[in-house]
């Protein structure tokens, strides 16, 4: 399902505008099978691990959130976190994982 030719799909929700100092919620969803590496086919062969291993978010170049992912996290992981709206600018989201998996997304926020 994550095979070659399939675009890595990610969806990110955050407010477009916030007041300075406000705590904003950011919700991210990444399309991924999260194959644990512990399952076997019906012929007994081990299905190789294929998971997202790392997620990070930076806000105007400064990392504000990072997560390490492990086997047995559900498919299509939803990661929700919050940060403080300090200044207008760009949030960059980056997912990476096994078999060269990489996805990025960026979003603007204006802080008033």
């Amino acid at each position: 399902m994550n095979g070659p030719g399939r675009k890595a799909r990610v969806v990110v929700h955050l407010p477009q505008q916030a007041r300075r100092g406000e705590i904003i919620e950011i919700r991210t969803l990444a399309g991924h099978d999260m194959e644990t590496g512990f399952r076997r086919t019906q012929f007994g062969e081990l299905i190789p691990r294929d998971i997202i291993t790392r997620f990070a978010c930076s806000y105007n170049g400064v990392e504000v959130f990072r997560a390490e992912l492990h086997p047995a996290i559900a498919a299509n992981p939803l990661i929700t976190f919050s940060t403080v709206a300090s200044e207008s600018g760009t949030l960059e989201f980056r997912w990476s994982g096994d078999n060269g998996y990489a996805a990025t997304h960026s979003a603007q926020i204006s802080v008033v």
């Binding site: 675009k7 799909r9 969806v11 969803l29 999260m34 559900a74 498919a75 299509n76 939803l78």
Partner: protein, 224 residues
């Protein structure tokens, strides 16, 4: 369905089926087949052209004199209009397109009409719903009409209204069709499920959607 599952379903930021909707939207405007045409080349913007379409499926297909479901309707256009090979049942592409088309009818009442032409198919579906089968010798109706609201091995028994297909099922960790869901109930009573796309299966789907007529579509739904 629990409160948390509903909250997950109703919020586009948390409903994982949104990932399939994006694929469906991309496929909608991608040219394919010998005809080198995209769905959008004939149907335009799905948000208007497909509004209400999913609420009318399964429906009667006069050229073949049978009932077809939405997946089959999509594949007819693949084969006849795009001159491209049909998508396999439960393939990512077919689920994505059906979910994307279904999404355009979200909130609209299911609009299945029974008339003289469709009555034999509806009756066949109803008979299948009420027929005892499998090693457990249980009919669908014994759970879904007679015992809904009670629980079975910790799961509440629903009324079996297929209002949200294709669904994102947490147990599957992915999107699946109504037929895939029904296979689980067949296997649950240790009966042999019909093959994907079999007319018996489509008639049963037709009956279930008719039985749910007037209820609002919630495609793509999230279910445990």
């Amino acid at each position: 369905m629990g409160r948390e599952t509903r909250a997950m379903q109703d919020d586009d930021a948390t409903n994982p089926a949104v990932l399939w909707l994006l694929d469906g939207e991309a496929l909608w405007s991608r040219k394919a087949g010998e005809a080198a045409k995209a769905c959008a080349d004939c149907h335009g913007d799905a948000r208007s052209s497909m509004k209400g379409a999913a609420a009318r499926y399964p429906g009667f297909y006069s050229a073949k004199e049978k009932i077809i479901n939405l997946d089959q309707r999509v594949n007819l256009c693949r084969i006849e209009r795009q001159q491209a090979p049909a998508f396999a049942y439960e393939s990512r592409e077919l689920l994505a397109l059906s979910a994307y088309i279904g999404r355009q009818s979200r909130g609209m009442p299911i609009d299945i009409k029974a008339d003289e032409t469709t009555k034999p198919f509806l009756d066949a579906g109803r008979a299948a719903f009420n027929r005892r089968q499998g090693q457990l010798n249980l009919a669908c109706s014994q759970c879904h009409d007679d015992n809904w609201g009670k629980s079975l091995a910790g799961n509440p028994i629903p009324q079996a209204h297929p209002t949200g297909y294709p669904i994102y099922r947490l147990e599957w960790q992915g999107l699946g069709s109504l037929q895939r869901r029904l296979r689980n109930c067949f296997i649950g009573v240790r009966a042999e499920p019909y093959a994907y796309g079999a007319p018996e299966f489509v008639n049963l789907e037709f009956y279930l959607m008719w039985r749910a007529r007037g209820m609002k579509l919630e495609t793509p739904a999230v279910r445990p």
